[in-house]
Each structure stands twice: as C-alpha cells, then as structure tokens.
C-alpha cells in the first residue's frame, strides 16, 4: 500500500549564526499523527515543507500516488494546488474579513446559500457561531484559534496539518473539539498531522506519534510506547521524566523479563525491565516523579519489587502538587497530593519508603 503521505525532506535554514537542518523521512497512514518535540525542533518547518510554503532543498513529498514535490524530477506543486489544510501556529486569519468570511474563504465554488450553510454549521460546532460578523481583531485568542480551525476544516482537503491548534483553549473546549475532530475524520479517514507540546493532547489524540529533535526523527510509534520509553535524554526531560539516574547492570533474569541494576554512587539496587544490555554495562534510567509512591511505614505484601528506604530532604507545598525530595543515597523527586501530605503528616527529616514499580523505570540513551 502506498502511504497516505510520504515525505523525504532535507531543508536548511540559514541563519546569521549556525544553521538549522531538517532531515527526515516519514510515511503516514490515515488518522492522527502527533508531531512532538522540543521548541525549535523543526515541527513547523516540516509542516511548511509539506504544505508547499517552504521549498525543501532536496527530497520528495507524495500524497497517495500524487507527487507534490520532487527535487530530482523538478516537481513542485504550488501550495494552492496541494489540497492540504493547514492551521498555522500564528493562525493568520484575514484581518479585514469577518469570522464568516474567513471561514468561507476556501469555498469559492459553492453557491452563496450552500456556503453559508456549511460555514454556519462548522462555526456552530466550534462554538463560535455568534461571532460570525466580527472581525478577528474583535474576538479572543481562543476564539481566533477555533475560527482558524473551522476555516481549514470546512474545505475538502486530502491532508490536515495542525500546528498547536489547541494551545489557547481550556480543557473542556479541547475535549469537545477532539471529539468533533475524531467524528469529522471518522468518515473521511484523512491523515492528520498535529503538532503539540501537551501531554493531554497526545493522550487524547494520538494514534501514531513522531518525535522530532534537532530536525531529525528520534522516535516514532504509539504515543504511549514512545513517551514511556524515551530513547533520548532531551526528549525524556521534555516528556517530564523528572528523575534521571545513572546505573550499572548487575544481572539479567530473562525468564522474568527483568534485570537488576545498581544506582551509581550509592548502594541502591532496582529491578527494571529487561533490555539489550550486558552485566557491567552503564545505563541511564528515567522515572517520572508522579510514578513513585511514598509510604511512612515499610510496606509489605505488594506486587511492586522496589522499595527504597530514605529520608525527606525537602518539601515544597507551594503548588497544587507537592514536590517531595527524598534522599535514598541518591535524591528522588516525588510528586504527591497535598491531601497525602496532611494525612501522612509528612515533615522534612522524616524517614519514608519509596515504592517504584518495575515498569515505571525507563531507559534513556543520550
């Protein structure tokens, strides 16, 4: 099967200092693909190249069987012929047109009535129907974002590119729009490339995910697999693994699918998932602060294999999440709720036990 979108792209931005190079190859199936990656990774550049707004230095981009760009064959379909809907990070609503006119802009072929009906319908479903006669300068940031989405979706594209389309929306609206988008695409089965920084959005939308860093793809796959087993340190940090630990492999227990490792500079040992590693090899582990349990008495009879005694070194209660630093020889950051702090009567200096599930330990390559 030919991929719904296949792109091989090399594109260099020449800046006054150094150069940024996007260099990757992706094949996309219909449905959502999340593009994830730190700021400046090249996500918008990738979308610009696919949409035809930036011209790659080399490569080939094809939608189904149609070639959109091919540096070797000197093919370069102009943006307006690509039938790709693109919601820019900067939105780029037309300042002189009303919300209604903006939304109907991509529907020049229709009769006035039909256009109105389709525009009204989509504005309604995005909750901005009553703004239809306002100009973009007279609506709020989140409203602008919804209008930009509506303007793109109302056309009949063969591909949808969304550059952080929900960043200015509250949780509720987001959830609603996700559902709308899913329903919209259920019949269409378009490939949708969606850039986001938000874990929520990844969770809600992700069927497939590619992770960019420094212009290259550093991970690709199901969101939970990609995010749970980050392969790179920069990504691990970006995805919120607060605890990064150096360790040495002790022994492998292949039948259990686990291995034991010793943390560096202390006597702590952990049971972690099996990996392609040899005893004595140095590895790096990542553990999310929210995945660590904290107990005031030594817990027993648990399925969790890693129980580490330690002492509370610091307690930061300023936010809705309490950040506890526990010293077990190495320092761990643990996130717990204020209720737990109260109930357990936690205080600095108090001895505690940390419980870490085997599968909460992830490997990081750097």
């Amino acid at each position: 099967m030919t991929a719904a979108l296949s792109a091989r792209i090399r594109k260099q931005h020449r800046g006054p200092v150094g150069a940024f190079v996007l260099d990757l190859s992706v094949d996309l199936a219909p449905g959502f693909t999340i593009v994830f990656g730190p700021s400046g990774a090249g996500k918008s550049t990738l979308l610009d190249c696919i949409a035809g707004l930036e011209r790659p230095d080399a490569g080939r981009i094809a939608a189904g069987s149609e070639t959109l760009f091919d540096s070797a064959a000197a093919v370069n379909l102009p943006a307006q012929k690509r039938r790709i809907a693109y919601v820019f990070q900067t939105l780029a609503l037309f300042p002189h047109l009303t919300v209604e006119e903006n939304t109907g802009y991509g529907l020049p072929g229709l009769s006035t009535e039909e256009r109105r009906a389709r525009v009204a319908e989509i504005l309604e479903s995005f909750g901005v129907a009553d703004l239809q006669s306002r100009k973009p300068g007279e609506i709020s940031g989140g409203e602008r974002q919804r209008v930009a989405l509506a303007r793109s979706l109302v056309t009949s594209p063969r591909l949808l590119l969304l550059d952080e389309p929900f960043s200015a929306l509250d949780a509720d609206l987001k959830a609603e729009l996700f559902d709308d988008l899913r329903a919209w695409n259920a019949t269409r089965q378009l490939p949708i490339l969606c850039v986001t920084h938000s874990r929520d959005e990844v969770d809600a939308l992700g069927e497939h995910m590619i992770v960019l860093d420094h212009g290259r793809i550093v991970a690709e796959g199901f969101p939970r697999d990609v995010l749970r087993a980050p392969r790179r340190k920069r990504l691990a940090v970006a995805a919120g693994f607060e605890n990064l630990l150096q360790a040495t492999v002790l022994d492998l227990r292949e039948s259990d699918g686990v291995m034991r490792v010793a943390l560096k500079d202390c006597s702590v040992e952990l049971e972690v998932p099996l990996a392609h590693a040899l005893p004595g090899q140095s590895i790096q582990l990542a553990i999310r602060a929210g995945d660590i349990l904290l107990a005031t008495e030594q817990p027993g009879g648990l399925s969790a294999r890693n129980v580490l005694p330690g002492k509370i070194a610091a307690l930061d209660e300023t936010g809705a999440v309490v950040r506890v630093v526990v010293d077990c020889g190495v320092r761990f950051l643990v996130h717990i709720t204020p209720g737990a702090v109260r109930k357990l009567g936690l205080q600095t200096g108090q001895p505690v036990w940390l419980v870490v599930k085997t599968h909460s330990c992830h490997f990081v390559a750097d």
């Binding site: 949409a51 035809g52 707004l53 102009p78 943006a79 307006q80 690509r82 039938r83 790709i84 809907a85 693109y86 820019f88 900067t90 780029a92 609503l93 037309f94 300042p95 002189h96 047109l97 802009y105 991509g106 020049p108 100009k135 973009p136 300068g137 007279e138 303007r151 793109s152 056309t155």
Partner: protein
C-alpha cells in the same frame, strides 16, 4: 464663467485615474511580487516621466503620437484622426505622465501585506489572482486611495503635457488648468480666480469625501 473646461477636466481626471489604477494594479503587483530580480530597474523607469519638464515630455509625446510615428500612423489608420489634439491623446499622455503616482503607492502598499496571509490564502486553495483580489487589494486600501487621489489631482492640475499634446481646443482638449492659465496670461484675474476657486472647491469636496470614507473603513489590523 465658462464651465466647459471644468467638466472636461473632471471627465479627463476621472477617466485617467480609473484607467491608471486599472493599469497600475497588475504592474504594481508584478513589481511587488514578481520573480525577475531586475525589476527594480523597471520601477525606476516608471518614475522617469516625472523628471522631465511637462512641456518637453509633451513635445516628445507629440513626436511619438504624430503621424510620422508608427503609433500615430496606426491610430490614424484605425480611427481616421490623429491622436494628437484629441481627447484620447490627452488621456494617453496623462496616463503616461501620472503613472508613477499610481504605481508607487500601490507597490509600497502591496509590499506591506503580511506574507503569512498570502500563505494562508494559498493553503486555502486560492489562486494568486484570487489572493490578490481578496487579500492583497483590500489590505492595500489606503495605498489605493493614495494612488487614486494623487493621480486624480495631478491630472486635474497638469497642464504642460496637456497643452502640448492637446493643442488647447475648446471643448475637446481645453482643460480647466489650461483655461485658468490662459486667463492669468490674459490678465483676466477675475475669471482665473473664479475658475481656480471653483476647481479648488470641487476638488476639496471630492478629496474630503474620499478621505472621510477612507478613515471610516476598517483599519487593516486588529483594534486590540
């Protein structure tokens, strides 16, 4: 006071400024967005009619429009009368002379349009032409007004070129600026003042309306 020259002038200025804008729109669009890297040279060429004294430009035009030039001969063959000393000739000459006033403001307005909006239009499937009509042009409204006003006023006031090419024929090529000039030269200051005041009054009214409308119109940018 003989008002015929005034009406003639208004007709000339209206025709010229409208034609001028029509001609300048594609020209300015090409100068602003075109691909050819040397187009700034043409931009300079279009401003050149301005630097010649009008009468002299008129003289050269007279040669170019005369029966001995290919253009003049062709015109004569097609329409049975020469371009010189005709209203059409005036229109042609004024077009050429006032061109920079229409082209320049348009080019600079077009260049000011946020390219991101052009991208947005393309991505929505609009052709360059549609993009020009629906995005570039309305966002250049103020430049368009400047182009219209300058070319209208300049055509009203122009007299060197018009006199030379038109031959000052009453009812045909005697514009109000020539009429005022003639009155001044004949020391008929009364008539000159009356004509000048009428012209100024009408122009002031027209310009005020244009500017007032221009002011009302949406500002291209958000008010916030």
């Amino acid at each position: 006071m003989n008002l015929a020259p005034l009406f003639l002038s208004l007709r000339l200025a209206a025709i010229v400024s409208l034609l001028l804008v029509a001609v300048s729109l594609p020209l300015a669009a090409w100068l602003a967005f075109g691909r050819w890297r040397g187009r700034f040279l043409l931009e300079a060429v279009f401003a050149l009619p301005l630097v010649l004294p009008p009468t002299v430009l008129g003289f050269y035009l007279l040669l170019a429009l005369g029966p001995r030039s290919p253009l003049g001969a062709l015109w004569q063959a097609l329409f049975g009368h020469g371009l010189a000393f005709s209203f059409e000739g005036l229109v042609f000459a004024s077009l050429l002379y006032s061109l920079p006033f229409a082209v320049q403001p348009l080019v600079s307005a077009f260049r000011g349009v946020d390219p991101k909006l052009l991208s947005a239009s393309f991505v929505l499937g609009a052709s360059p032409l549609r993009t020009f009509r629906r995005v570039v042009l309305p966002l250049s409204y103020s430049g368009l007004v400047t182009a219209l006003v300058l070319s209208f006023a300049h055509t009203l006031g122009e007299f060197g070129v018009v006199l030379m090419v038109g031959g000052n024929l009453p009812g045909v090529t005697r514009t109000v600026s020539i009429a005022i000039y003639d009155s001044v030269q004949a020391f008929d200051y009364g008539e000159a003042n009356r004509l000048a005041l009428t012209l100024l009054g009408i122009s002031f009214a027209a310009l005020s309306v244009i500017y007032a409308v221009n002011r009302r119109v949406w500002s291209p940018w958000s008010s916030r």
